[in-house]
């Protein structure tokens, strides 16, 4: 994807103005807590994604990049807060610059504005996981399996796969409910047709016999078969104008409604009780009820998500993924509520199926009442029908079932008053009607029968369609799950193998045969690791905090390798191995170097030892590392190993800023002296408070260097190595000359060393001081790689060396 050539941070977070050259190489930033190193990581993340992880997630609701991205003194001037990165894009073999301002975080300026560069940087924007902080490690290691599954699925961007599976599953569940409804509609339509034709059983022969008996009365040809398009009223004159009233069918409809009502209570009691039981559970537990209510709301919110704005409260999240995870977290907390929701949904759906035949027969009764001008009856049954239709609609949504508790506790079907007497009166009314002539009756049976037959055929077609759709929905869901599980299993196997390999490499001394097992199952990702051959256990069971940190980073690296493959070219690691001990950190450097040679790691750490280890293992060099000594709100991070220090000091002097130049020089010299004292093994007078200044450090450093160069010259003499002897002697002379030059300015230097009075000097007085120190410190570094000379190994040194190896003087004399 990308590598960083250089960066420029202005008024962003705790940084005022900072330029860094990374040279597309791994880079370390070391400094004590609060020195601003994480601000660099934040700035890079912001430039690439427009977001800052530490300002998002749990507990950061009040924080935002727009308000808290600018330096605290520049909050009212967000236009000046910006980060600029010069990048190399290996995939395109192109360079580009991206500049992002806090005031326009969503609109970075990209130069050149080539479509392929813009597209690639847009892709990078979708990968916030290039930043790993220690808090992220806990997301993988010390979490419950369901949460881990979500976190790892999120880092692998598996969200979309899960969404597709979930949508197919919901469609499949819907198919089951729809199929039950469709089957009920067929049954109901068949009953209506039977009533119309006066049939007690329903076979093709029965239907043909009933139809042909009527057709014979009308002197119409008999139908020999009943096909899909057969019209039983074919040939009936004026069929469309024939009265639809069929006395016998009407009486049967009245009887059907009576029977349905008699059976209704028994058929639905089980479902009503199930609904009431679940509602009682909710009412007995306020928290459960709240979880239930939130669940429904949150589920609706999840459905409506389309971007980083929450559809429920309008809060803007860093991105859509954060929002989805937040809402899913809420849903996960209400598993018991989910079980209740499912039971209510199933019971309501079953109840709804029983309403289908009731509503169908009610429609027939309303038609009869209307045809007979029984307006009061018509109005009563029409109103009831509407009531039941509305109830049926409400039963589709669990939310709308809860308020129906009182209705379910009483007469939930809300039958009209005196329904039995009304039906009895209707029956009497119908029985009192004169029997129609045989011809009229035959006409009515055939024309009304045709209408019922059409309804039946329609219901059947719908049922077939639904059955077919249900089959497809189930098949599609099963196929998707099968393919997804196969691919995820392969993915997790790869991740598991890489993770085990990386962790073994770091812990080769004591856990070289380490193994791990990632086991995905429905919504979970179990993660167990081998503990010294004693079996597989959760990472937090026996392993130390340091080992867990190591596991977190290894798992992260394994995941990133699978996520980005060859495009894993940049990772920002913010203090991620703070609990790993020194020996294992060295191996970690080797791991990064050997397994990820094409990845530019930008590593922030507060641990000076690890920063040194990164150099000694050649993961970084002195050119690709930076030390922050301190930080203040006014200045931002104070950078110590600044190769440009002499140019900056000269520039400040030229511009008359002696105070600034003096401050920078003093800071630099103190820092370098402390590095040299450590590297050479110099012995300053011990200070319990550790507050060594230049006066404490420089004399023992110079003394130690002279001592080592003297030893090197003697050793070379003993071995007859003239070249080494010359090198040591020349270096010693160079140091003496420089120290002598320093001596010429000693009165001024002492002021600086002991009283820090440089700031009050005039330019003419200060320039010789700068020149003298520059000459002195050049004598303490390699002229090729510019690293500070150091004695190796520490304690009992055998050589005086530089980082690149150009200077490598043995200190061991030949045995006499």
């Amino acid at each position: 994807m990308i590598r960083i050539e250089s960066l420029h941070i202005q008024e962003f977070r705790g940084i005022r103005n900072l330029k860094m050259t990374l040279g597309q190489k791994p880079f370390s930033i070391c400094g004590p807590n609060g020195s601003g190193k994480s601000g660099v990581i934040d700035a890079i993340e912001f430039a690439l994604t427009g977001k800052v992880s530490r300002l998002s997630g749990q507990g950061t609701k009040e924080l935002s990049v727009s308000e808290h991205g600018p330096h605290v003194d520049m909050v009212k001037f967000p236009d000046v807060a910006q980060v600029s990165l010069n990048l190399f894009l290996p995939q395109l073999n192109k360079s580009a610059t991206i500049t992002r301002m806090v005031s326009a975080a969503k609109k970075p300026k990209i130069t050149p504005n080539d479509p392929d560069i813009v597209a690639l940087l847009s892709e990078v924007e979708e990968h916030p996981e290039i930043t790993l902080a220690r808090r992220d490690i806990l997301r993988f290691i010390l979490v419950e399996p369901t949460k881990r599954s979500e976190e790892i699925q999120a880092i692998l961007n598996l969200e979309e796969i899960g969404q597709t599976r979930s949508a197919l599953k919901t469609a499949s569940n819907k198919a089951v409910r729809e199929a039950k409804q469709a089957a009920a509609q067929v049954s109901s339509a068949r009953d209506a047709l039977q009533r119309q034709l006066g049939l007690s059983s329903f076979t093709v022969a029965d239907v043909l016999a009933a139809v042909n008996s009527k057709r014979k009365i009308l002197e119409l040809p008999a139908l020999e078969e009943l096909k899909k398009d057969t019209k039983i009223d074919d040939g009936v004159k004026g069929a469309e104008n024939t009265a639809t009233f069929n006395k016998a069918a009407a009486l049967q409809s009245v009887q059907a409604l009576s029977k349905t009502l008699d059976a209704l209570d028994g058929a639905t009691r089980e479902h009503i009780e199930a609904i009431l039981t679940e509602i009682s559970k909710l009412e007995a537990d306020v928290q459960l009820l709240q979880a239930f209510q939130r669940r429904s709301l949150v589920e609706q919110g999840l459905e409506l998500i389309d971007g980083p704005e929450c559809p429920l409260c309008d809060h803007t999240w860093p991105d859509e993924l954060h929002l989805v995870q937040h809402l899913k977290g809420k849903i996960d907390k209400s598993k018991d509520a989910e079980a209740i929701q499912k039971k209510i949904q199933d019971a309501a759906s079953a109840l709804s199926v029983h309403l289908v035949p009731l509503l169908d027969v009610l429609r027939e009764i309303v038609k009869i009442a209307k045809a007979e001008n029984l307006s009061e009856l018509e109005e009563s049954f029409l109103g009831w029908g509407k009531n039941l239709s509305e109830l049926s609609r409400k039963l589709e949504s669990v939310d709308q079932v809860l308020p129906l508790k009182e209705r379910f506790q009483n007469d939930w079907s809300e039958q009209p008053n005196d329904i039995e007497s009304k039906l009895r009166d209707l029956r009497v009314h119908l029985e009192g009607k004169p029997d129609p002539s045989a011809k009229i009756e035959a006409q009515t049976v055939l024309t009304s029968g045709q209408v019922r037959l059409d309804d039946y055929r329609k219901a059947q077609r719908n049922n077939e369609t639904i059955k077919q759709a249900q089959s497809l929905a189930t098949k599609a869901y099963d196929l998707y799950c099968e393919i997804m599980e196969k691919e995820l299993e392969a993915l997790y196997n790869d991740v598991q193998a890489d993770f085990s390999s990386y962790y073994s490499q770091i812990n080769a001394d004591d856990e070289g045969a380490f193994t791990a097992k990632l086991a995905p199952s429905e919504g979970r990702l179990d993660f167990n690791v081998n503990f010294y051959g004693r079996g597989l256990f959760p990472p937090g069971a026996y392993h130390s905090e340091g080992h867990q940190d190591g596991m977190g980073v290894c798992l992260y690296l394994a995941l990133m390798k699978r996520l980005l493959g060859a495009n894993f070219t940049l990772a920002l690691l913010d203090d991620v191995v703070m609990s790993v001990d020194a020996g294992h950190r060295r191996e970690f450097c080797e791991l990064l170097k050997t397994q990820f040679p094409n990845t530019q790691f930008v590593i922030a750490t507060h641990d000076k030892l690890w920063a040194e280890q990164m150099k000694t293992t050649k993961l970084v060099t002195s050119k690709t590392s930076l030390m922050f000594r301190s930080w203040s709100v006014e200045t931002g991070p104070v950078v110590e190993s600044n190769l440009e220090i002499w140019n900056e000091v000269e520039r400040d002097i030229e511009q008359g800023r002696i105070e600034t130049a003096a401050h920078s020089l003093r800071r630099h010299l103190e820092f370098v002296s402390s590095q040299l004292a450590q590297g050479l093994g110099a012995r300053p007078v011990f200070r319990a408070d550790g507050a060594y200044d230049l006066g404490n450090l420089l004399p023992p450093v110079l003394g130690r260097m002279k001592e080592l160069l003297g030893k090197a010259a003697a050793a070379a003499q003993s071995w007859g190595n003239q070249e080494a002897k010359s090198t040591a002697s020349e270096r010693k002379q160079l140091l003496s000359r420089a120290n002598s030059a320093k001596g010429d300015e000693e009165w001024l230097m002492n002021k600086a060393v002991h009283f820090n009075e440089w700031a009050n000097l005039e330019r003419a007085d200060f320039e010789p001081v700068v020149a003298a120190f520059k000459q002195l410190f050049e004598a303490l570094q390699c002229d090729a790689c510019h690293s500070w000379l150091y004695a190796s190994p520490a304690g009992k040194p055998e050589a005086l060396r530089c980082q690149c190896g150009k200077l490598n003087l043995s200190l061991n004399e030949k045995m006499k």
Partner: protein
């Protein structure tokens, strides 16, 4: 993981094509849902499964 999503989607569509139950127009619509970059909705799938064939002159 865009590559994994793509791989699963392609295999899924292949499996649907090999199954006689799914029509070409249904597979095409499912393909559109999977490649739209939008969150798939259950009802979108359901409507596709329920959609009658154009040849079905009911």
């Amino acid at each position: 993981m865009p590559n994994l999503q793509k791989k699963i989607s392609e295999q899924f569509l292949d499996a649907l094509r090999k199954d006689n139950g799914f029509r070409e127009d249904q597979i095409e619509q499912i393909d559109q849902i999977l490649t739209s970059g939008k969150k798939p909705k259950p009802d979108e799938f359901w409507q596709i499964f329920c959609a009658p064939s154009e040849d079905d002159a009911l």
